[in-house]
Structure formats: structure tokens, C-alpha cells
Assembly symmetry: C3
């Protein structure tokens, strides 16, 4: 596959074909090796400018994108917006247009409101990469999860994947449901409340099962993906206390024993140990949480490379 990906936005997994997803993962696999070299740098993006525009704080995701950009020799510029021109009364679109006028090749954007990357993509000549928009999508997270599954399970097709947590409000869950169903996995979701996004309903034909209990989702799973609880949502009515959450939804060794013997555990981080995941699980050999982070850099290298005009490497 050599489909060019010129100045192409990555707004969400929803818009991607299985072939495009495979192209990104193949490219990431090729870039992965760079990160274990003595000299972790290739000139692929020399003279390209990548802006990390973060309206929400995120040490991990920003750092991963910044390292990815620098290892490809791009010029990386961080903008952390909170007390910035947005507070000076400028509209979001004006902020984007202004940055775009400085001729960046790519703007990586994170924002607490769904749809912001799409708004920016409409006005920007730079490629827009969504690094998380509200409760909508977090496509690079789903891609690095997929890469982790592929590395450890050889393929995604046919895997039984349990996603456990606050599905409705999770951009990680949403991007993963899109990706996994497109790639032929069987997905079961479970979490507090029976609330599941309206748009997931039509996935039921595509291999999505909504489970009443966490145990139903985990039973026989090849992959158990635990969502991070959003402490900031704790005061909402349908959300249990942290203690109740741990008891009813937390991934303990007992619950994990319901999964296949060789099941792997994923978590997007940062972990709340003892709440959504027990420390014994987090630290076990089944947990691939640090592999996810490692593959995250490779996935972001691939995404930046493809977004700024590179061709799929496979």
C-alpha cells in the first residue's frame, strides 16, 4: 500500500478505513526500531514545524508527541493555552488561523470540547491531528492500543476485547470501539450505568456487545482494556464513590481470572491504582501499560509523518 496521505488530518478513527488504519500501524512498526537505537533520530521531518496546541493539560500525550516530532527532526513548538490569547477574547478559529499563518506543517490539538479539531481542520492549511477532544475521540490512543494488541496477539481480527469503565464519557473508549470493530475484533463494553453512546447502537451488528456486568465483558476476553476513572465526574449523580467503583468495576486478579489465560491488560494512563485497576494487576506480566506508552511514540511518529506528506511504510 502506497496511498499517499498528503497534508492529511487525523481527526478521529471514525473517518478511517481499515486499510488506512493498517497503513498507520505498519508505518509505526517501521518507526518503532528508531526508538531503540543509540542515535534516535532520522531526518524524515527536517524543516517541518509541528505545533502542539494543548488547551487541556497533558504531560504524557504532549511529551509523546514532542518526542515523536523531535526524533523525526521536526521543529516542535509547544503552546499550552489557558491564560493565553483565548482568555484575551480571541475566537478559537482566529487562534488557529493565526498559528496557521506561521506556516506550520502540522498542528496537534487537545481540547476539552468535542469537535474542536474538526473546526480547526476546516480553516487550517496545516494538517490537524486530534490529541483528544472532549468526550469524542482520541485516535492516537486507539492506534497505540491497536499496535499493542497486534504486537502481542499477532492480529486484531477475532480478538475478544473487553472495555471496562465510563464508556459514555470516554474518548478512549469511543476511538477504540471504532477501531476495533473496523478491524474485526469482538468488543464487549461494561461500566457504571447502562449508558452507552447512541452512536454505538449500530455497532451491535459489527461485533459490539453491551454487557450488564463487568464480569460478562471480561469472561473469555483476549484483551481487557480498563478506562481511567474521571475523578472530575465523581460528583455527577450516576457515578459511584471511588470505593464503590473499585468494588464493582475495579480490575482485580479475581476478575482478570475470568479472561483467557493469556489475556493482556491495557490502560490508557495515568492509572488510579486501587480504583479502576488493582496494583497487583497493574504490575503483573499481563499488564502491557508501559508497552502502550512505548508504542505511543512510534504511533505518533507515524501519524506526524503521514500527516505531513509521508507515504505509508510497510
Amino acid at each position: 500500500m502506497t496511498k499517499p496521505f498528503r497534508r492529511r488530518d487525523l481527526l478521529g478513527i471514525r473517518d478511517l478505513t481499515p486499510e488506512e488504519i493498517r497503513g498507520i500501524l505498519d508505518t509505526a512498526e517501521n518507526f518503532r526500531e528508531i526508538n531503540s537505537r543509540e542515535i534516535k533520530k532520522v531526518p524524515a521531518l527536517r524543516g517541518k514545524t509541528v505545533i502542539n496546541l494543548f488547551f487541556e493539560n497533558s504531560t504524557r500525550t504532549r511529551t509523546s508527541f514532542e518526542i515523536a516530532a523531535k526524533r523525526l527532526s521536526a521543529d516542535a513548538v509547544n503552546i499550552s493555552v489557558s491564560a493565553s490569547s483565548v482568555t484575551k477574547g480571541e475566537t478559537l478559529v482566529d487562534t488557529a488561523l493565526n498559528l496557521d499563518a506561521m506556516d506550520p506543517d502540522c498542528i496537534v490539538v487537545r481540547h476539552s470540547s468535542a469537535g474542536v479539531p474538526h473546526q480547526l481542520a476546516k480553516v487550517s492549511r496545516a494538517a490537524i491531528v486530534n490529541a483528544g477532544d472532549g468526550a469524542n475521540e482520541h485516535p492516537t490512543q486507539a492506534l497505540l492500543d491497536a499496535m499493542t494488541i497486534r504486537e502481542h496477539k499477532k492480529k486484531i481480527r477475532g480478538q475478544e476485547v473487553a472495555i471496562v469503565g465510563d464508556i459514555l464519557h470516554s474518548r478512549v473508549a469511543r476511538s477504540n470501539v471504532h477501531l476495533l470493530t473496523k478491524m474485526g475484533a469482538k468488543v464487549r463494553v461494561a461500566g457504571p450505568g447502562t449508558l452507552v453512546p447512541e452512536e454505538f447502537k449500530h455497532f451491535v451488528d459489527d461485533g459490539l456487545t453491551i454487557c450488564p456486568h463487568v464480569e460478562d465483558a471480561i469472561e473469555g476476553a483476549d484483551v481487557v482494556m480498563i478506562l481511567r476513572i474521571q475523578r472530575e465526574r465523581q460528583d455527577s449523580a450516576y457515578f459511584p464513590t471511588l470505593r464503590e467503583y473499585a468494588i464493582h468495576y475495579g480490575l482485580t486478579n479475581e476478575r482478570l481470572d475470568l479472561a483467557k489465560k493469556d489475556a493482556i491488560v491495557l490502560h490508557p494512563g495515568p492509572m488510579n491504582r486501587g480504583i479502576e485497576i488493582a496494583s497487583e494487576v497493574a504490575d503483573s506480566s499481563r499488564s502491557l501499560i508501559l508497552d502502550q506508552v512505548k508504542y505511543g511514540v512510534a504511533v505518533r511518529m507515524a501519524v506526524l509523518y503521514l500527516a505531513t506528506g509521508g507515504n505509508v511504510v510497510n
Copy 2:
């Protein structure tokens, strides 16, 4: 012109000769093309260290300087000071001396107090570039405005330029009045109150007119430069409400129709749409606001290059 500009501070437009201004603009024009290349990077400042020392928050200006430095291959280091050593009781001059001891080639400084760059220039071996000091000067803004006028009107000499807004407190206005009168433009200023800086009085002979009404300033103008209202000054006595400001001073299509048919509109950003500038004007083809931002990177490349020892390119 090949006048060297070795380790030369850019503290304000006031200190520059017309020939020096022309030298910077010519150099910027030469650098401009780099920003539209596939590989936007030249080795001009390789091994030079540029510190962006911002005591006031400014996404746009800091990003513009950072991108300019990186595209010239300089090492750019950002220091955003608020909860830093200044709060630890150190004097400003000690902060500057300390940074200077790390052998930077250039320190770009923004501060809310007028005169800070001049203080720093006295003690620093690094070239000091003023990125805005209180209500005093913002020389790179005036230079990018001049570059925009030159690109679109071919020359600055003879242009009728209206500057509208809070002239007294605007470093953008001050730097522009200096630059435009030096370069032979005719400048008319108008805004709330009849307050005009004392130092502008002697410009009256040099082509500056102080107009009682915005309409007088705009009538027949080739260039209409709108200042950003300073919301933080809103509570001061002489400042009207936002609504009154929009009514009396805001640039609407009606007001703009008083200018020449081919008049261009400039604004230093970030814009308060519907207040000092109507959206219909901001988004019209006469508005060159994004060109200003684009030229801003080129101007800052030229300034950093000349400040660190480069020769004028023309």
C-alpha cells in the same frame, strides 16, 4: 547596503535610521521565501542560543519568535516568568546577568514595564530584542506592519495611514508612528480621549496629524490600522464601555468606506471581533491580518539574524 549589525540590540524603532529599517525589511523579504519551502530551515543561526524571556504572557509573539529562531537552526529556549526567580526576590538585572552568563547570543524580552529591554541591554553581552515593553515600544510589530504595507502598496513613502484606538497606551501605535514618519508616510491618529503621547507632538511636523474623530483619520486613507482594545484598561475613567467603543471607534464597513477604495486593514491581534473591528471587515479581502502574522515570522527571522551578527541581505 552591507552595514554590519553585530550583536546589535533592537530596543525600539525610535533609535533606528530609515536606512536601518530598510535593511531589516529587505532582509525579511529575503527570508520570507524560506517559510514556504518544503524544508523550512536554513543553517544561518546554527549553534546560536536565543532565549525568549517573557514576563508577560503572549502565545502569538513568543511562538513567532520561537519559530523564527528554529527555522534559522538556532537553539531556542523559552522562559516564562511569573512564578520564577523574580518572585524569589531576585532583581531583574540579576536575572538578566545570570542568563547572560549562560552565553546566549540573543535575549528576546517582553515585560509589562516600559524600559526593561533597555535596562537589560546595559548589562547584557547578548543582543536584546524588545518583544514589547509596557506602553513603550513593540518594534517587531511595527516592522511587520511596514512589511505588509510595502508588500501590498509597493512603498511606504507617501501612504496615508490611519491609526485608530487607544494611542496613548499602545506600544504598537508608538512603534508605528516612529516607523511610519521616519519612512515618509502620513499618519493620522484618532481614538478615545484626545490624549496623545507628549513625545508625538514633535512628529506633527513630520507628517503626524491628530484627528478629533475616527472618521477624519480614516477618510482617504491607504492603510487603516486598528489597535486592539486593552480590556484590562476598561475600568479606567476615560475608557468607554465596550459597546460605546464599538459604536464610536469600531471599524465597520461604513467607516472603512471613507478610506480609499483599495485601502488595506491591519490589526496587531488578537482581535476583539465586534468591538474594535467588525467581523465583516476582519474577514474581508481588504483585511491583511493573517499576512501580518505570516510576515511576522520573516521579520523576526531577520531581526534575530541581524542582532546576532548577520549582515543585511538585499
Copy 3:
């Protein structure tokens, strides 16, 4: 000496042999010259990733490490943690493991708690460099102080060094006592209270003297090292008011006259002029405070170089 220093942490001076200290200082001396070149950049760390992980704010130390990394061509990534994932409930070790999974070569860490770098070193494959941990150690500060003494006094052995200030709570004092006694200097400490760290007691045989009065410490000294007062400790019982501090412990010209005629004055910065040090002293030719900052960049270049696998240069 060509002892390799592969992926070697720098957690404190306490763990170093005199030979290792000499190796770092020799390497720093070799790197020093780079900082006065027109092109201040060598490819020594090209393709290496250095993360500056600062849990405490520090303009000066972070900037010094960042400039050091960039002049060696490393990719430097700054993480300033306060409103980050640590506040999101993640443990410190998880934060470290996550960063480590991104394959950095070195993590420079500053934290308000003693022992954090040691914790990180246990789990991290990247080399950990301590940039200050609570009241424990600040090894690069002691190394740059040593480099300053060596440059100006030719050798460290036999120098009479007075350290004045809040010894008990000072990581600068602790690292310096370790280094100076290891290298054969005679150290006298004095400050408010008679509180001296328990661990210093056994240094008494190694050339440490605890002096009841500041004057006793300074008398006949070759080097007078003034500690910064910690304003944040001001409310504690044993700490005098700022005025009292200045009177009883501040380094004035009179007190400095007790030292040798050619005594030099050191201060780790940022200075509180008029409190722990009189301006007349700070600005005199005996004060080497800016030399310390200058050598700081060279020392940090050496430390990053050796920590990531370079060999001692001498």
C-alpha cells in the same frame, strides 16, 4: 582516566569518589570552551533525548540544563509538573516509568522531597540526574562551585572554605560539604542555630569545622560561600527576621575583610541582596557569582555527556 560512565545516574556527591569528581570537572573544563565559540554546538548527544522533569519551579537550573543539552545536540524536552498527571492521582514511580517507556537517555529531576531521584533511578533505564531534591543534595551546584574554585584557586585541596547560612536545610551546603571534604578542602560552616545535620558529624575528622559565629568561619578563608536564605522557612521558630539575618549573618565588606585578601565569594543564586549578601560584596570583583553560572552550563554538559555513556575527557 578513561573510566566509562555508561548510563550512570548522578544522584548526589555523597556516592562519588574523588576520582569521579575529578573526571566530571576535567570533562567540564574541556566542554567550557564550546560555550565561547561562534557556533556553540557539538554533535556529542545527537539523537539522545534528555527530559527535564521539574516538580519545583527553577528558571535558572532548568535553563542551564536545557542549554547544556541543546549545545550537545540532544533533544531536550521540558516537563514542569504541578497541575499535571501527578495531580491526576498517578504515583511518582508510575510517572517515571511512563516517561522511561518513551526511551529517554536521561531524566533530569528536581523535586521538593529528598530521595525522589533515587526512587526514580531504581525503576528507570534512563540515567537520572538530580537537579535538587528537597534538603538533600544538589550535586551539579556543588560541581560548578568546585569548578569555580579550581579555576580561580588552581586546586581544591587545602583551600579553607567557609559556608554560611541555613546549613541544616540546604541541599547546596550538603552537596558542597561532601564534595569539598572528599577533595581535601577544609570546610567551616556557620549559620543561624547550631543545628547541623547529624550526618555531618563524622566529617569533623575529614576537615569539617562547625563554627559558633559567622566570623569564625570566615576568618582566614580562601572561599566564602553564602547560602541563599529560604524565605519560605522564615516563619519557622528558629529562623530570625530578615533584618536580624542581615545583621547577624549577612556577608558585608566588613565580614569579608576577615577572609584572606584574595578570598573569593560564591553564592548559588538567586541572591537576596541586602539580606544574606550585601550588594557591595555581590558586585565586587571578588564575587564570582556569574562565573558560577557560566561554569554551570559546562558542568551540566559534562554530566549529561557522562550520564549518557560518554567517557571522561581530560
